[in-house]
């Protein structure tokens, strides 16, 4: 019951956060030069027609009035407006693109966790040994290698030379139709529909972009795991556990790791949010029809409704991730109360 009330309170906090970010997005797009009309109007039309189009799009109104009208449409009709770069309602565009990005980020982050945590734990257990040094090198490389460069190198090696990976042509080969839409995550939808060939194709299309994301994301995770584990392993309670003669795996996982997991989770939430925003370069290289590319195009074309919609969505996801993080911390650590 208390947890529920906490969740509700946190969700209520979402409203001012969203209003604030939306306001900033609104303000910045309107203050900077560039408007979406010139693109859809083209060069040939008369000035009068151009002005008429601006009026129709309410772009002639003062900024605060535009903001109010947008909010009114959003709250009463759930309408985020129509994108100028795709001619479709922004809500529909976001529902279309977000699963593509989410699937990529989930696989990337999953892979990062699977690689980073054992690496961090191993480094901590064998502190200052060759294993630790190797882990440090991997982490430094992961942090310093730009994700697009890594993507290009992976493509060169695994697609062009070894021909293990499929071409960077998006989520599926062009001749293959997407699975029936349930979640929008192609691997999951393909499984639900029992389409094994689609599942395999979607999974192999995910491989290189997910690895690119994972390598850059695993570095901070591995380092945090290592330092948190080192601290935990040197603590009094681990010494006490050792003295009691508890088995090694119990000491590592039930005592040390459980105490180290909170900073790791915190870093993970940050990395996850960062990946959602930073996925755009990976999407560009792999022709991935996701949210990042959509937002990039929207920004370049001053597509106001699309920019606002994307910012709203990403902010919401971010807030939810941190909510989940806080709940997870409360569940793990009995000292934390919600």
């Amino acid at each position: 019951m208390r947890v529920l009330r906490y969740v509700l309170r946190r969700l209520a906090l979402l409203v001012p956060v969203l209003l604030g970010t939306l306001f900033i997005a609104f303000f910045l797009t309107r203050v900077l030069p560039g408007n979406p009309i010139d693109r859809v109007a083209g060069p040939y039309i008369s000035q009068e027609k151009r002005e008429a189009m601006k009026r129709e799009a309410r772009l002639d109104l003062p900024f605060y009035q535009q903001f109010y009208l947008y909010l009114a449409d959003l709250v009463t009709k759930g309408d985020m407006g129509t994108s100028y770069t795709t001619a479709q309602p922004v809500t529909r565009d976001l529902l279309q693109r977000f699963p593509a990005t989410l699937e990529l980020v989930l696989y990337g982050m999953g892979l990062a966790v699977v690689l980073a945590i054992p690496l961090g734990v191993l480094s901590a257990l064998h502190k200052d040994s060759p294993v630790d040094h190797a882990g440090r090198v991997i982490a430094v490389v992961g942090v310093s290698v730009p994700v697009f460069w890594l993507g290009l190198v992976l493509l060169y090696v695994f697609f062009l030379k070894l021909q293990w990976a499929p071409p960077p042509i998006g989520r599926l080969p062009p001749t293959m139709s997407p699975p029936p839409h349930v979640t929008g995550l192609y691997t999951l939808d393909a499984l639900l529909a029992g389409q094994w060939d689609v599942f395999k194709a979607a999974l192999s299309a995910l491989a290189l972009p997910a690895v690119s994301l994972a390598v850059t994301a695993m570095a901070p995770l591995a380092r945090m795991t290592r330092s948190a584990m080192v601290e935990a392993l040197e603590s009094e309670y681990v010494r006490a556990a050792r003295a009691l003669g508890l088995p090694q795996h119990v000491i590592i996982w039930d005592y040390a790791f459980r105490n180290a997991v909170i900073p790791i989770l915190t870093i993970f939430a940050g990395v996850f949010g960062y990946a959602l925003g930073g996925v755009v370069l990976v999407e560009f290289i792999f022709s991935w029809p996701g949210l990042g590319l959509y937002t990039l195009n929207a920004i370049l074309s001053s597509d106001f409704p699309a920019i606002q919609g994307a910012i709203l969505l990403v902010t919401t996801v971010y807030v939810f991730i941190y909510l989940l993080l806080d709940l997870a911390v409360a569940a793990i650590d009995p000292r934390v109360e919600v």
Partner: protein, 531 residues
């Protein structure tokens, strides 16, 4: 045993089917921004769809030309207009301002609706009453300003009465923006607030009469067209066209190299030589009338001074740009009207690379060695690789005169707004006149009343020549006036032409039949793919 045979037979059938189905995979650079042919201006994939799904009454004739290197290619000649949805057209013998279109019989839209004079008239009403792009094109010189200038004479005959009988208006009517849409779509989706169903046509691809129709569309990912089996000129040879969105030019190259796609354009010029060496690929490079232009705002200092503009025109190393930026896939420009456009006169444009002369002119203008010049910002659009490199060459060339130029890259929405408002002082852009006619080109670029006269050039004499001869049918007088205007414009140098880049398409060798259209959009109907 029997089961094995059955599987074998099924396999044969499947293979036969697969061979019969010809699929073309094309890597395109961006997504659809509207499905309405009357309003599509921005994205090339949108325009390509319009040009393959919808059709106009008339089109330019397809002709063979020989490239400078001796290869023969197919392109179009706008001086010869032939029927498309109209079987034939002719000026009325009793009224020189009237054109009669005789429509093709038995044509049906993809939906089954018959095509006839009523469909043409309704389409034209939609175009004029909703003020679509076509209004401004066929409205040039005031030739056609109202839909009722189109009249139905009988079910298969339409007459167009112009203010003055001329060819430019007809050339403008070949642009896909005036394509015939399906009256059934219009009736089904019109609402009291939106009588021309603008909203529906923006979001949905209507039915057309053209060789292709939409099979599926995954936004941001792919657009799939399929052949219209009942097309009146016969079923297209390619059954399916998959336009796959690949935003990164480097990946388009990679996909071509590995055979994952059959065709791509907008390939970086620096990759073309390498692609030529790949046995499975063919690189087609067509000379065009496109111009990369160094634009100087004629109403802003220091470029309001003609001598400064002349100094700039003599300072640019044109050959170097063709060689280094375009690696030979471009030509040195010949002047305001490019080689390949009728009445082009290379003798009118005297500017060659001559830095000494440029220095002298700049001193004459009152800025010896650049002293006293206001700050100059050269603006370019983000993401135009070749223009970025041109900007650096321009900056370097002008610094030798003592002109200090800073380069600023702008996102295209910002750039467009400033350009449209005439607020850019110094910038690089590119232009191709889709209608290959000197007066079309001169009106949009040099007439003081044109919305696309981005450098705010104004010369009353040039205006007058354009106004007088734009709609003239006297070919000789029109050509003479064009040459006179070219001399005037050349003397004023409102813009400088950095290069005339080729249009490059990279194809798999199995793909044949590509035709270069002036609008640079691919028509899949003429193409084939060998197994």
């Amino acid at each position: 045993m029997q089961r094995a045979w059955r599987a074998f037979l099924a396999g044969i059938l499947f293979l036969g089917f697969a061979a019969a189905q010809k699929t073309l995979v094309v890597a395109v650079e961006g997504d659809i921004d509207t499905f309405d042919p009357a309003f599509s201006v921005g994205s090339t994939p949108t325009q390509t769809i319009s040009a393959n799904v919808f059709e106009t009454l008339i089109r330019p004739q397809i002709v063979e030309r020989t490239a400078p290197d001796g290869t023969v290619y197919r392109t179009v000649d706008m001086e010869q207009l032939v029927g498309q949805l109209a079987e034939s057209w002719a000026f009325d013998s009793s009224d020189p301002n009237r054109v009669i279109f005789r429509l093709r019989k038995g044509v049906r839209y993809h939906s089954g609706t018959p095509f006839n004079a009523d469909a043409v008239i309704l389409g034209m009403r939609r175009i004029f009453e909703s003020q679509s792009i076509t209004t401004f094109l066929v409205g040039m010189g005031g030739a056609v300003t109202r839909a009722d200038q189109f009249r139905k004479l009988d079910d298969y005959t339409v007459a167009l009465t112009m203010k003055q009988g001329n060819l430019l208006t007809l050339k403008n009517l070949t642009i896909y923006n005036s394509a015939a849409i399906d009256p059934a779509d219009l009736k089904a989706h019109a609402t009291p607030e939106d009588p021309w169903a603008l909203d529906w046509f923006k979001k949905n691809l209507g039915s057309g009469t053209g060789p292709y129709l939409l099979e599926s569309y995954v936004p941001g990912d792919r657009i799939v067209l399929k052949a219209y089996p009942n097309y009146y000129l016969g079923k297209p040879k390619i059954d399916r066209v998959i336009m796959k969105i690949v935003p990164d030019p480097a990946q388009r190259v990679l996909l071509l190299r590995t055979g994952a796609v059959d065709m791509a354009n907008q390939v970086p010029v620096r990759e073309l030589d390498a692609l030529k060496r790949i046995p499975s690929l063919r690189v087609l490079s067509f000379p065009t009338t496109t111009q990369d232009r160094l634009m100087m705002n004629n109403s802003m200092p220091p470029f309001d001074n003609k001598l400064v503009r002349k100094a700039v025109a003599y300072a640019i190393p044109y050959e170097l740009i063709v060689r280094q930026v375009y690696r030979g896939y471009a030509r040195v420009s010949v002047g305001p009207i490019e080689d390949g456009m009728p009445t082009s006169d290379p003798t009118a444009w005297p500017y060659r690379y001559d830095p000494e002369r440029a220095k002298k002119l700049l001193a004459e203008a009152g800025y010896p060695e650049g002293k006293g010049l206001p700050p100059i910002k050269l603006r370019i659009r983000i993401g135009k690789e070749e223009q970025e490199r041109e900007a650096v060459i321009v900056q370097d060339a002008l610094s030798k005169l003592g002109m200090k130029v800073t380069i600023e890259k702008l996102p295209f929405a910002t750039f467009n707004e400033l350009q449209q408002g005439g607020k850019l002082q110094f910038f690089i852009d590119d232009w191709i006149s889709w209608v290959n006619d000197p007066y079309y080109h001169m009106f949009w670029n040099f007439h003081s009343k044109s919305p696309t006269n981005y450098v705010r050039y104004s010369n009353p004499e040039v205006d007058k020549l354009i106004d007088t001869y734009m709609l003239s049918r006297d070919a000789k007088a029109r050509a003479e006036a064009s040459r006179r205007a070219q001399r005037l414009i050349s003397d004023d140098v409102p813009q400088v032409y950095l290069a005339s880049p080729n249009f490059n398409v990279v194809l798999n060798k199995k793909v044949t039949g590509y035709i270069y259209f002036n609008d640079q959009l691919t028509r899949f109907f003429y193409m084939d793919k060998k197994p």
